[in-house]
């Protein structure tokens, strides 16, 4: 890991945080408004995801066939392609937490700048949940 890669990560993170702020996805009520399909539906999140995927679906087509990324010798990509229960169970549990809090990990990180308790407690609980799932998977492996 070198400086060029760290600066790239910083710039990429900056664009990500700007994008979340401009789209107001760090506003929890907007996210809950999108998930609230039977109430006063707020379509904003659909445009955010559409705009983001609209870009990646085009650019990734040109990047992924390359032999290696510009600053590294290889791509670090997920290799699994199987659909298993863990994938779906994990996504469903995530969705429940998302609906309860109105936060997914990205917006929670960027809204830390508000210095309000909500994102701080959310991130601490996120870390707790992540460690708990690690403990659970490890104890299952031992059995």
């Amino acid at each position: 890991m070198n400086n060029k890669q760290n600066i790239t990560a910083l710039i990429s993170g900056l664009l990500f945080g700007l994008g979340l702020s401009i789209s107001q996805m760090i506003d929890r009520e907007r996210v809950i408004g999108f998930l609230n399909v039977t109430g006063k539906w707020d379509a904003t999140l659909m445009f955010v995801l559409g705009g983001a995927v609209g870009v990646t679906i085009i650019t990734f087509r040109f990047i992924l066939p390359l032999k290696h990324p510009i600053f590294d010798s290889k791509f670090y990509l997920p290799t699994r392609q199987d659909i298993d229960g863990k994938l779906i169970l994990g996504a469903v549990i995530f969705g429940i937490g998302w609906g309860i809090s109105g936060f997914c990990p990205g917006p929670a990180i960027t809204s830390l700048i508000q210095l309000s308790f909500n994102p701080i407690i959310f991130i601490l609980a996120f870390i707790g949940g992540s460690f708990a799932s690690q403990l659970l998977t490890k104890s299952k492996l031992k059995e």
Binding site: K4, I11, S12, G13, L14, L15, F16, G17, L18, G19, I22, S23, M25, I26, R30, L35, G39, T44, V48, L49, A52, V53, G54, V55, T56, I57, T59, I63, P69, D72, I83, K86, L87, I88, G90, A91, V92, I93, F94, G95, I96, G97, W98, I100, F103, P105, G106, A108, I109, T110, I113, N118, I121, I123, A125, G128, S130, F131, A132, S133
Partner: protein
Amino acid sequence: MLIESSWINGLIGGIFIGISATVLLAFNGRIAGISGMINGALEFTFSQVWRWYFLGGMLLGGLIYEYLLPLPNTPRYDFNLISMIIGGFLVGFGTRIGNGCTSGHGVCGLGRLSVRSLIAVISFLASGMITVFIITDILS
């Protein structure tokens, strides 16, 4: 105010996020998935330092928006301890088991045309919508 309509804001913000994911993949060969970014950063190893730069950039982006751009500030809400603890725990637990969140599976996974990610996105959108329905229409 530069931009009035929320869907135009959404589209422009989304394009920024797409460009962010493009930059990280093209230069570093990495996926811009935020749940994995946090989990990797917390390993506190030298090879994961770049993840702290990315997370720092996310804060910087938020600060630039709130303090430098002539755009409306993000609303603040009352502290909601119970939703944050339960919601945060479930999001941390679920994204670790399911290997990703809205960014990793949504923005990057769909961009890679991954079927695994498509199934994950459908699952968390559906469960999120059902959860909000239960909370707003049944519980209250």
